[in-house]
Symmetry: C2
Subunit: 305 residues, 2 copies
């Protein structure tokens, strides 16, 4: 493995330490993650939720809860409302889901008064370091937007370019991927990919280089581009951002990577005023910490831009 996430965490430690506002924190999964993040100097956290339960679970996971600020709200919806408001008001730089449904978590993010909504669509990005690949790959959207429209894809690109920028990639290469690397009028994904490329050429999509439709071999392998006589493309095996045609393609590819390769990853929700973290119970501790580190570099980037 390379040292991309290791470097990302080292970078986070150089910044002033950021705070995570946790919605409905009475969850062993989430408390373990914030405990580790604090121990490792990655981030601090403020815990919104049922104080009694939080203290019980903290004891179970061996967490010294006295080191964290707890704000007592027994109703998870209310806890989320207050937790997101803290981020909205600038009292914390990141927002994290605890023991409430994804739907209620998203509702709090989208709240018009205290939420984190921007004019852009929310999207999810999963950042991968994969053995044998010399850079971070930004996969989007593998978990959130089911069938993004062309307009949604413009937002997804903008959201993800910001995350790539935060990770130190100044001019990311964006591959709207499909089964093939040429436009086929019978395949809408290829038509939209070509349109995104055109919108990048005319300056509508800025801060990145878009080249689609692109097949994954050409997005990942320079050698494949040599084989296909395609060295005149803007992307020749060096794509940073992989924009999937829909959630099936995204999620299926994401899970094959997770279950068949040696990798490190971290994922966040973007298109928000502050990055949001939704870890899943089955994520490893490393993935949870990487997600927090990723959110931290994005928060730092947003502060400076």
């Amino acid at each position: 493995m390379g040292k991309h996430f290791e470097n990302l965490i080292a970078q986070v430690k150089k910044y002033p330490m950021k705070k995570i506002s946790v919605a409905a924190a009475a969850d062993s999964n989430v408390l373990s993650a914030v405990k580790e993040a604090k121990e490792k100097g990655i981030a601090d956290a403020i815990l919104f939720g049922d104080e009694t339960k939080i203290k019980e679970i903290a004891a179970e996971v061996g967490m010294d809860v006295s080191q964290f600020e707890i704000r007592n709200y027994t109703d998870p919806i209310e806890a989320a409302h207050e937790a997101v408001k803290l981020v909205h008001d600038g009292g914390a730089e990141m927002y994290m889901k605890g023991l409430l449904s994804t739907k209620d978590f998203l509702k709090s993010i989208l709240d018009k008064e205290v939420g984190l909504r921007t004019e852009k669509k929310l999207s999810h990005v999963c950042v991968f370091e994969i053995k044998g690949i010399d850079r971070l790959l930004f996969l989007t959207d593998v978990a959130f937007l089911p069938y993004p429209t062309l307009e949604d894809k413009v937002d997804i690109i903008a959201n993800t370019v910001e995350v790539a920028n935060a990770c130190g990639i100044e001019m990311p290469k964006v591959a709207p991927i499909a089964a093939v690397e040429v436009v086929n009028p019978k395949m809408p994904a290829t038509v939209e990919a070509a349109e995104l490329t055109r919108m990048n050429e005319d300056g509508t999509i800025k801060g990145c280089i878009v080249d689609g439709p692109l097949s994954v071999d050409m997005a990942l392998s320079h050698e494949a581009c040599v084989h296909k006589n395609a060295l005149d493309r803007k992307i020749t095996g060096d794509a940073d951002i992989f924009l999937f045609p829909d959630i099936h393609a995204g999620n299926i590819a994401y899970k094959f990577i997770v279950h068949t390769t040696e990798f490190l990853n971290g994922c966040i929700l973007t298109g928000t005023k502050a990055p949001a973290i939704l870890t899943s119970r089955s994520d490893s501790t490393e993935t949870k910490l990487n997600s927090i580190a990723l959110a931290s570099v994005v928060a730092e980037h947003l502060k400076n831009n």
Copy 2:
């Protein structure tokens, strides 16, 4: 790596040696593959095409062309017509694409008089042995059918079950995969996956166990099913056949596997009277030989069933 393809090739060598009928064989890529297949005792070949050119290219790739029967047809379409007819008439058990377009190759397969058409839709299957996974995975369709209908999917399952049977898997587990493992009325792929499961339960789809919609984590990892409290599913990390919702999902996942994992694979076209092989220029020699070996076990299976 396991020894799945090694065992498959060992199995092929126990059968009477099969013949490949090659359409428009004047292609270095294809001649190298049939040369190796013959040297390794995997298959023999009859070469249809421009005899002068075949002999020239054979010399270039160090092939003793006197060991092969050549039938001289300078027109590639005519060569394909005669090559497929030989398979149709029982003079060869496998059909292979040489230097002609995929479209013309398929046309010859679909020819009503001399082709290899059955009542079923043609489909493509790519068989993978991946480091860390203790069985062969059958991925379909990653290269051929763009947007299979429910009816097409029934055919794809039947075609692929036959290939799995030929590889020694008596009752393959079929996962119609999607982004999620539950039906979501807003996601047609999940609705069709549930319908395929129902058709398997009522006996319309036979010879396999279908369980969908299924997410890839649950199709690949027993542990993921434990995490998700889903041990009551028919597939709990042990799927053999991965049925993709469309070609984007299939091709994208396929190429991520090829470019990020340690693997062996072989691919054939099925749903035909005899297996057809289309190797790509960028395939490794090992992949080409595995494809021929795969076609051989399928040909043997068809002979006996």
